[in-house]
Symmetry: C2
Subunit: 383 residues, 2 copies
């Protein structure tokens, strides 16, 4: 049900012809109110795509009427013309819907450094507006795919209200904020400040903690729109938990569909002095190419975990570190632990537990293995 | 000529049986004086192998009589027993040579988390001592190979004095100090403080600026030994330049032999506000897996360069960045520049120039592409 699970939203996903493949490439999500409250988080990459620069401004107003998303081109590193194109895209949506362009968020994904074919995108907006439907969520989720093999949606239902969403992302997933394009909708009756808090709390613990390849996108955008159509104002904790659950579900789907991946790696750092330490260590493990290769080869090479931990500034003593792979403590006190042959790595999910023995904080980071397929997919992407 | 190019040194490389492959795995380098001055730099990884912990202490004394190096096992993450083994190794060398164990440096390379077979290593030291020769430099360089396909040596001759050296390293190459195992020797008549300064100046600009896979070793060791046998004390600048040249040559050989690599990538960051900024940006580009895949595919995907620059804290404005690949300025002012089809990437060396337009400092970082062969080699390494 995606972005149309909540009341008050319509959506569409159509083929505008931006992608040469002829597959769907334009999505439109419209908030029909009565509220138009919104919050957004964006990539922390300092090189930001034109739609990110635009939408950051839109979100400052706290109201979003519509989100237009395209695949087939990131509109990043495209200079003043790229920004003009984003502006024209928002204007076109506003014109077709009879709304204000200043409340139209724009998101793009695809190759960096290429201008969008506006002669196809603008007519596509008319086509998408004509296709808007209260059942259009799935089609919208399909239209934002790039190298994704499946579309990603999630829904959580509260007492009289709903949070739903869609995500796209299969590579260039790294913390530093959210991950690629995500639109969440809710019919809860909440203001933009509440949405903002719930969204930041959720992304910090979900999208910010997946790392498929250590590469941070120029286009990451996560939006949360509230229509208020349920006329229910849930308690903050309950609502925040629903948003976090949807984000967590979508983040896991992103990792599960990461480019070329054959393993999902759940890295749990325990007994850290601080949560920041736990996250830093988890990310360092998540980004270690040698370890990612070993996991691909079903090789419980725990030395690579220790060498990754050793590059961080976290509080720990090298001779107090413990590491388990799939529950077997192969490293104890910084040295050889239980027999590595006891580790069974046949399944897709691999659990790495790193015990820093320095406190009581913890964090979970999700990552993928590094495979020849990842190399193949990304060595031919733009050609 | 390797470590025996300079007068006053003997070396040997033999097969002790540490490696199951039966290839040479133990090297011994002896400084016969009259001086025994020495300097060393070691990995900045906080998880340090036993031989690193040992040799750091040895180098504090500023004198080294002999260096014993083994491949076939890193003796890292091996606990108190691993440290005892390193100590016993140094004691054995001291006994055989009739010297002090406190002046014997030890270096190991190979798999992390496995104890060394001391029943093979200790007899191997006797064998190596018996094979010591003023022409043993090549054999020593061969005995320290792990996944290296070639052994690496370099020599620079001054006016009556010489600096020579050997290196091993093919993966887990990343800045944070030196790179894997390197022994340099000279017959220049210099004290350990001078050696230390020359070595640190050299490694900062050479081994610290290669990055094959972003992974920092637990065992990196770079030693410089001076015998004084030439009875010549060269001027500092002249000597430092010779050491830098040998280090640069060895560092380039490491990149040229990196695991699975098909391209050597020379990343030059220009017009940076500070040298640190230039190095930070260069490393970020060097570690971007997506870019490394693109280079492998001979795809001048400059957007991935910009997205890597954007993750740094260096001084720059996104719309003032320029990027050239093999001399073609494919990105100008943060946007589309010259035609990417003009870029010829058929050759092994690929040059990326990143112009930050923020000052006048620069730095060069060397990296490799990411290939399916790298994945294959590192997914099966320990099994």
């Amino acid at each position: 049900m995606s972005v149309t699970a909540a009341q008050g939203f319509t959506a569409a996903g159509i083929t505008a012809g931006i992608k040469e493949s002829g597959t769907p490439d334009l999505a439109l999500v419209v908030n029909n109110g009565p509220r138009r409250a919104a919050a957004g988080v964006f990539t922390s990459n300092r090189v930001k795509a034109a739609p990110v620069l635009w939408s950051e401004q839109v979100l400052k107003g706290g109201e979003v009427t519509a989100v237009v998303l395209n695949s087939g081109g990131a509109n990043a590193c495209t200079g003043p013309k790229g920004f003009q194109d984003t502006h024209a895209t928002a204007e076109k949506v506003a014109e077709v819907l009879g709304q204000n362009a200043g409340e139209v968020a724009v998101a793009s994904t695809g190759l960096i450094g290429v201008l969008l074919p506006m002669d196809k995108l603008l007519p596509g907006i008319e086509k998408a507006a004509a296709a808007l439907s209260a059942h259009g969520g799935e089609k919208a989720a399909i239209a934002i795919k790039t190298t994704d093999t499946v579309h990603k949606t999630s829904v959580v239902t509260g007492d009289g209200w709903t949070v739903g969403g869609m995500a796209k992302g299969a590579g260039m997933l790294a913390p530093g904020l959210a991950t690629m394009l995500v639109v969440l909708t809710t019919d809860a009756d909440l203001d933009s400040a509440t949405l903002d808090k719930a969204l930041r709390d959720a992304t910090r613990q979900t999208f910010d903690r997946v790392d498929s390849d250590g590469c941070m996108s120029t286009n990451d955008t996560v939006l949360l729109l509230a229509s208020g159509a349920s006329e229910v104002a849930p308690a903050y904790a309950e609502f925040a938990e629903a948003v976090r659950t949807v984000c967590d579900d979508l983040a896991r789907q992103l990792i599960g569909d990461a480019e070329g991946a054959s393993k999902d790696i759940r890295i749990e750092v325990i007994n850290a002095a601080t949560e920041d330490d736990a996250v830093e260590v988890g990310r360092s493990i998540a980004r270690n190419n040698l370890l990612k290769c070993a996991i691909h080869g079903e090789d419980p090479n725990w030395g690579r975990v220790l060498s990754a931990i050793g590059t961080t500034g976290a509080a720990f003593e090298p001779d107090e570190l413990n590491v388990a792979i799939n529950g077997v403590w192969v490293c104890k006190n910084g040295s050889v632990g239980d027999d590595r042959d006891l580790v069974d790595m046949r399944y897709r999910e691999v659990k790495i537990t790193a015990d820093l023995a320095a406190g009581s904080e913890s964090a979970v980071i999700w990552a993928n293995d590094l495979t020849a397929e990842y190399v193949h997919e990304n060595s031919a992407y733009s050609s």
